[in-house]
Amino acid sequence: MQLGFIEEDGFQMEYVLTFGPSELACQLLVGLSRSMLLFIVTAGLSLVLGVLRVPNIAHGSLYMIGAFTAFTVSTVVGGAGGFWLSLIVAPLAVALVGLVAERILFCHLYEREHLMLLLFTFALMLILGDLVKIIWGAEYRSVTTASLLQGSFMIFGLPFPRYNLFLLIMGPLVAVALWLFVSKTKIGRISRAAAVDREMVGVLGINVSWVFATAFVIGCLLAGLGGALIAPTVSITLGMDHTIIIEAFLIVTIGGLGNMWGALIGSLIFGITHSFGVMFWPQFAIVFPYVAVVIVLLLRPRGMLKSVW
């Protein structure tokens, strides 16, 4: 067996030039862990798309702010504590930015057409990008994770990064938390209703404006968490907002716009095809998920699951 090694998005991905079942299984796990990260980010985007009907291009910027905040927290505090704290502080900081943006800007715009919303959130992306540049500068930053999560362990006779295992645990935790929110809490149920018929929700005596604010803040929280989680695996830099937002929009599109479980399926498709791309044709690995997107859209133009749009 020959082993190759590339660094893609900072994810350490080992690829093998001859494949056995254990290599395939291992690569599948790598793909799944990447999918979990994508899911955390796209679930937030999808929630905002579904409930508020806002295609929030600035979602990637919020993710980037999450990553930079995680950098600041983990360097200032330092050590394992710094890393764990960054996972809490970064999402909350981004949620706060989201709350301010929602109450000051977004809440006046819900009735506008989608094109206006696209332009507006695009502008917001540029503004937030500049803000990040002013605060953190243009240098590359990096975060060291807790030592518990560093290094690899052996699985199927191959080394597997501990951090990827951590992502494999975080993804389902977030999915379960979101499921509990949308199906078991009153505000979650109201958001599902508002996604379809906001006027009728108002007629029932519910102030839709606060429902939207809550959904938006949760969406931002997820963007921030995604940013904080990816921070130890990449060089944190300006421009990471652009990369993620394109992937994120493709994922929610193939999943079914505004459908959170669609975001999960889309993330799985994206993450797994990418990781097998790395395995079979590393130079063109990045093409694989896009080909998958095209195939899905040819077969199911409105996405895998029911779109609320």
Partner: protein, 232 residues
């Protein structure tokens, strides 16, 4: 309880209501009759704040309510049951009721159990998705959902539309029970017979204007008006 005074309502540029006035007293069931496109729904929506009138006044319990947001009007005690029901398809029957739950301003008020006493059929389908209900079930759920907000005034838009005769009678019984429970009802209907059985007084609307008003007896006797504006 409700006073509508000379309201003019527009959809964009098209002028729909031309000075509609009506009153509903506490405890009454009042019907608003009219043909397709006469302006019944628009009147209801104007009261609920969904299409606020450009001119004229609406008072609820003595307070002017033109321009107030629908959710605030709902909190003041007005519930609107739209003619197209607008059940939340992705939510179960129980969830549709739960999200509409609002504490009563006085007394104990409605809750899921009490609503199920009036509409026992809903209890059996509690966990079914709103999108999988029959037309009759949706009608019942729409009314039940409105009750959960503990309204004092219920705006019922064509509750019997599209229902089989048996269901119409059942629904009438249920509306009578609501009235006995102290609810005030404004009922928009094309089904004149059903409306006349339920109401104390009635208005007839045609082309966005009130054409006639009177007691049920007067309405029943006045062939000419009924022929002219209701086609029966």
């Amino acid at each position: 309880m409700l006073e509508v005074e000379g309201i003019h309502t527009f959809y964009g540029l098209s002028h729909i209501l031309f000075g509609v006035s009506l009153r509903v007293e506490q405890g009454e069931v009042v019907c608003l009759l009219g043909r397709n496109g006469a302006g019944k729904t628009t009147t209801m929506k104007s009261i609920m704040g969904l299409t606020p009138p450009k001119q004229g006044g609406i008072r609820f319990k003595g307070e002017g309510i033109v321009g107030k947001e629908p959710y605030l009007l709902a909190r003041k005690g007005i519930s609107y049951v739209p003619d197209d029901r607008r059940i939340f398809a992705d939510l179960s029957v129980g969830e549709n009721l739960e999200i509409a739950m609002r504490k009563a301003r006085v007394g104990e008020g409605w809750n899921k159990e009490k609503v199920y006493e009036i509409f026992p059929a809903l209890k059996d389908i509690e966990s079914r998705r709103g999108g999988c209900l029959s037309g009759g079930e949706q009608k019942m759920l729409a009314i039940a959902r409105a009750l959960m907000g503990n309204p004092e005034l219920l705006l019922l838009d064509e509750p019997t539309e599209g229902l089989a005769p048996v269901l119409v009678h059942a629904l009438e019984d249920q509306i009578r029970r609501l009235r006995e429970a102290g609810l005030t009802v404004l009922l928009a209907e094309q089904n004149v017979r059903s409306a006349l059985r339920l109401s104390d007084r009635g208005y007839i609307i045609g082309n966005g204007q009130i054409r006639y008003q009177g007691s049920i007896e007067e309405l029943k006797e006045n062939e000419e008006v009924r022929k002219k504006y209701l086609l029966v």
